[in-house]
C-alpha cells in the first residue's frame, strides 16, 4: 500500500493549490459528508421524478436499451450491473480493494497534485466506476453511468477509470444530474481513459446540473495504435461554474481522438471548457470541435493541439454564437514541434445572421421559430462513428435546451 500512501502525501501538499484555469472554488463551503443511500435493486423501480431527472442527462432506466448501468447517489454507489458479456462495471472502491490490476490504471494519466480538486478526489474519494470492455468485446448498446447529487450543498468526489481493451468497442454515456430540490453542489470528477490497440471508445457526457453547482472534472486519456477515442461533452443547462480541459495522448501509430463539445452559457454561468491532444505517434489525427452559445453566461472555449512528430494531422474548430448578453472567448492553440505537422484551426464568434432569420421567415416561420431553427442547426454537429442511440440522446439534450434559451 506504499503507492497509496505516496499518493496521499502528494495530495495533501496540493490541498490548497489553485487550478490553472477557472474561478477558485472554496471547497470548505461544501460538505463531503456522505448521506446514507440504500442499494437499488432495479433501476426501473426508481421514483419517477428521479428517473426523469436522469433521463434529461441521457440515463435511460428502461430495460433493454443499455448494456449496463452504474448509478451513484451523492457518494454512494447504489447500482452497478453489466448485462453484456465482455463488459465489466465495478465501483472503483470495490475494484481498488479486490482487483490488483486496477492500480495500474489509477492516477496514471493524471497527477494527484495537479490542483486542489485532484487532491480532494484522492483524499476524500467517495466512489466512482471502473468500466472495461474485455479484449475483442463489441459492446454495441451503450453502457451508462449516472452521477446524481441528492443532498444540497454536497461535494461529490468521484474517480472513474474507463478501459477499452485491445480490439474492443465500447460506448458509454455518462449523465450527471442533481435532484430537483438541489440548488447548490460541487462535483469533482477524475476520469482516466485507456483505449488500447485497435479499440474504439466513445464517451458521451451530458451534464444537467443546477444553477448553483460548481463542476471540476479532471480527465486524461491515452490511445494506442489504431485506437479511436470519441469524446463528446454536452452542457446545456444552467451551471454556476464549470472548468475542464481534458487531455488525450495519442501514443500509437494511427491513433485518433475527436472532441465535440456543445455548450450553452446561461446568465451567471461561467464555462471554461477545452480539449487538448498530444499527437505523439506516426499518422495520428485529432479534431477538437466546439459549439458555444450564450444567452448571458461567459464561455471560454479552448482547444490545444500539440504535434510532436511529422505527418500528424489535426484540426480545431470553435464556433460561438451570442444570443443575448454574455461573452464567448475562443482560444485555439496549435503547437508544432517539428516540421511536417499539418494542423489548422478556425474560430468564429458572432450573433445569428439576420439574413438567415429573414430567409426562414420568408418560408413561413416567425422570428422565434426561425431563430430556434438556426440555433438547432448550429448545435447539430455530425459525429462520425457515434451510434444512433447516443446521437438521439444528444439531439434530445439539444431539443430540451431550446426551451430554456428562447
Amino acid at each position: 500500500m506504499c503507492a497509496m500512501r505516496d499518493l496521499d502525501a502528494k495530495a495533501r501538499e496540493a490541498k490548497g493549490k489553485k487550478a490553472a484555469f477557472g474561478q477558485d472554488i472554496d471547497l470548505e463551503s461544501f460538505s463531503s459528508d456522505n448521506p446514507f443511500h440504500e442499494a437499488v435493486q432495479d433501476i426501473g423501480q426508481l421514483p419517477e421524478n428521479e428517473r426523469e431527472r436522469m433521463l434529461m442527462a441521457g440515463i435511460d432506466t428502461r430495460p433493454g436499451v443499455r448494456s449496463g448501468t452504474y448509478l451513484q447517489k451523492d457518494g454512494t454507489s447504489v447500482y452497478s450491473t453489466s448485462l453484456q458479456e465482455g463488459l465489466e462495471i465495478i465501483p472503483i472502491k470495490t475494484a481498488l480493494e479486490k482487483l490488483d490490476w486496477v492500480k495500474e490504471y489509477y492516477w496514471k494519466l493524471l497527477s494527484v497534485d495537479t490542483d486542489k480538486y485532484t487532491a480532494r478526489a484522492r483524499l476524500d474519494l467517495h466512489n466512482g466506476y471502473v468500466i472495461r470492455a474485455l479484449p475483442g468485446a463489441k459492446v454495441t448498446y451503450p453502457a451508462q453511468a449516472c452521477m446524481y447529487i441528492e443532498k444540497d450543498g454536497f461535494s461529490q468526489n468521484v474517480h472513474n477509470i474507463i478501459i477499452a481493451e485491445e480490439n474492443s468497442e465500447l460506448h458509454i454515456i455518462t449523465g450527471c444530474a442533481t435532484a430537483a430540490h438541489v440548488a447548490r453542489g460541487l462535483h469533482v470528477g477524475i476520469s482516466e481513459y485507456y483505449v488500447k490497440k485497435g479499440a474504439k471508445l466513445s464517451f458521451t457526457m451530458i451534464h444537467h446540473w443546477a444553477e448553483d453547482v460548481a463542476v471540476r472534472p479532471r480527465s486524461a486519456g491515452v490511445v494506442e495504435e489504431g485506437g479511436l477515442f470519441l469524446n463528446n461533452y454536452i452542457s446545456m443547462k444552467p451551471v454556476k461554474s464549470l472548468q475542464m480541459y481534458p487531455t488525450v495522448y495519442l501514443k500509437g501509430k494511427g491513433a485518433v481522438a475527436r472532441f465535440y463539445s456543445l455548450l450553452v452559457g446561461s446568465p451567471g454561468g461561467e464555462l471554461d471548457v477545452g480539449g487538448r491532444v498530444y499527437l505523439s505517434a506516426e499518422e495520428t489525427r485529432a479534431e477538437v470541435i466546439s459549439r458555444a452559445i450564450t444567452n448571458g453566461g461567459n464561455i471560454i472555449a479552448r482547444g490545444d493541439l500539440i504535434g510532436e512528430i511529422a505527418g500528424v494531422r489535426g484540426h480545431l474548430e470553435c464556433r460561438g454564437l451570442i444570443l443575448k448578453e454574455g461573452s464567448i472567448h475562443a482560444i485555439p492553440e496549435l503547437t508544432g514541434k517539428v516540421d511536417g505537422v499539418d494542423m489548422s484551426h478556425e474560430a468564429a464568434v458572432g450573433k445569428i445572421a439576420q439574413d438567415e432569420i429573414l430567409y426562414l421567415m420568408s418560408r413561413g416561420l416567425n422570428e422565434d421559430e426561425a431563430t430556434a431553427t438556426i440555433v438547432r442547426g448550429f448545435l447539430s454537429v455530425d459525429i462520425p462513428g457515434l451510434p444512433a442511440p447516443l446521437k438521439e440522446e444528444i439531439d434530445r439534450a439539444v431539443e430540451l435546451s431550446q426551451q430554456d434559451m428562447m
Binding site: Y359, M361, S362, R363, G364, N366, I374, G377
Partner: protein
C-alpha cells in the same frame, strides 16, 4: 391580385425605387427587365417584406389586404413566396428540413427532390457550397413545397448549366400553371382562365422566356418602371437598342 401603388422605397439613406405602380392579376405572369443595380431585386425584396427596404410612400396590396407593413412571415402565410438569387447558407440545417418547413410537413420530400434531380442534396446543409444551378433547384423545391399564390423569381436562370435550364424553366412554367396542357374536357382558353398563380420574374438573359410564357413585361431603369408591353418584344428591343434607349423611347 397584387397591387403596388405609387411605391417609394429607401435602402439606408438612398432612394432606390420611386413611383412604382404594378398590378398583377390572378393567373398573370410578369417579367421584369432591367440592368444591374436598377432596383429589380429591391422591388422583389420590398414585396416580400424585407425590413431594410423602407417604404417611404405608397402602398402594397395583396389579396385585398394592405400588406405594406406586414412582416415577412405574415406575407409568406398570405401566399407570397420568393426564389432568391443568392440565399444565405445555414450551417446544420439540412435541405430536407427547410423543405419540410416550407410545406408545413405536408409533402413527400423525396419524391419532390427526385423530380428536380436533387435527391443527393437533401442531407446537405442548405446552400452550403451549392453551385448557382444547385441553389436554383433548391429554391424551386422550397417554393413547390410552400405553394404560394404569388411567386417572385430573382433571376432563376443565372448560373444554371444548359443541362438544367430546361428542367428549371419547365418547372417554373408548371408552378405558374403555364404549361399549356388543357384540363380534361376544357379548352385552352378555359384552362387559362382557371389559372390563379401570379408570377413576377426578374430576368437578365431572357433565357427563361423560352420556357415560360408571360403576359406582360416591364423595364425597371434607375428605380423607375417603364415600357409595359409584350415581354418578348421588350426583350428584343433591349437586345437591339439597349436599356437606356428602350426606356427613352417609351417615355
Amino acid at each position: 391580385m397584387l397591387i403596388v401603388e405609387d411605391l417609394q422605397v429607401k435602402l439606408g439613406d438612398k432612394e432606390i425605387l420611386s413611383h412604382i405602380d404594378l398590378e398583377i392579376r390572378p393567373g398573370e405572369t410578369h417579367i421584369l427587365f432591367g440592368p444591374n443595380g436598377s432596383g429589380k431585386t429591391s422591388l422583389l425584396m420590398t414585396i416580400m417584406g424585407y425590413p431594410q427596404y423602407k417604404v417611404t410612400a405608397g402602398k402594397i396590396f395583396f389579396k385585398d389586404e394592405d400588406i405594406t407593413h406586414m412582416t415577412i412571415n405574415e406575407r409568406a402565410r398570405l401566399g407570397i413566396g420568393m426564389s432568391y438569387q443568392r440565399p444565405p447558407s445555414i450551417h446544420g440545417l439540412k435541405t430536407k428540413q427547410i423543405v419540410k418547413i416550407c410545406s408545413g410537413n405536408e409533402i413527400n420530400v423525396n419524391t419532390l427532390a427526385e423530380s428536380l434531380n436533387f435527391s443527393d442534396f437533401l442531407d446537405r446543409d442548405i446552400n452550403v457550397g451549392f453551385s448557382g444551378g444547385e441553389i436554383k433547384r433548391s429554391e424551386l423545391m422550397q417554393l413547390i413545397a410552400q405553394n404560394p399564390d404569388l411567386l417572385l423569381f430573382d433571376e432563376p436562370e443565372s448560373g444554371v448549366d444548359l443541362e438544367n435550364i430546361a428542367l428549371i424553366g419547365n418547372t417554373i412554367s408548371r408552378l405558374l400553371e403555364r404549361d399549356h396542357r388543357c384540363a380534361p374536357g376544357k379548352s385552352v382558353k378555359e384552362t387559362r382562365k382557371e389559372r390563379t398563380k401570379m408570377g413576377l420574374i426578374i430576368t437578365h438573359t431572357g433565357f427563361i422566356l423560352d420556357y415560360v410564357t408571360a403576359d406582360k413585361g416591364q423595364v425597371l431603369y434607375e428605380g423607375i418602371l417603364a415600357c409595359k408591353s409584350n415581354p418578348i418584344e421588350i426583350f428584343k428591343q433591349i437586345k437591339e437598342i439597349g436599356y437606356e434607349e428602350c426606356v427613352r423611347c417609351a417615355t
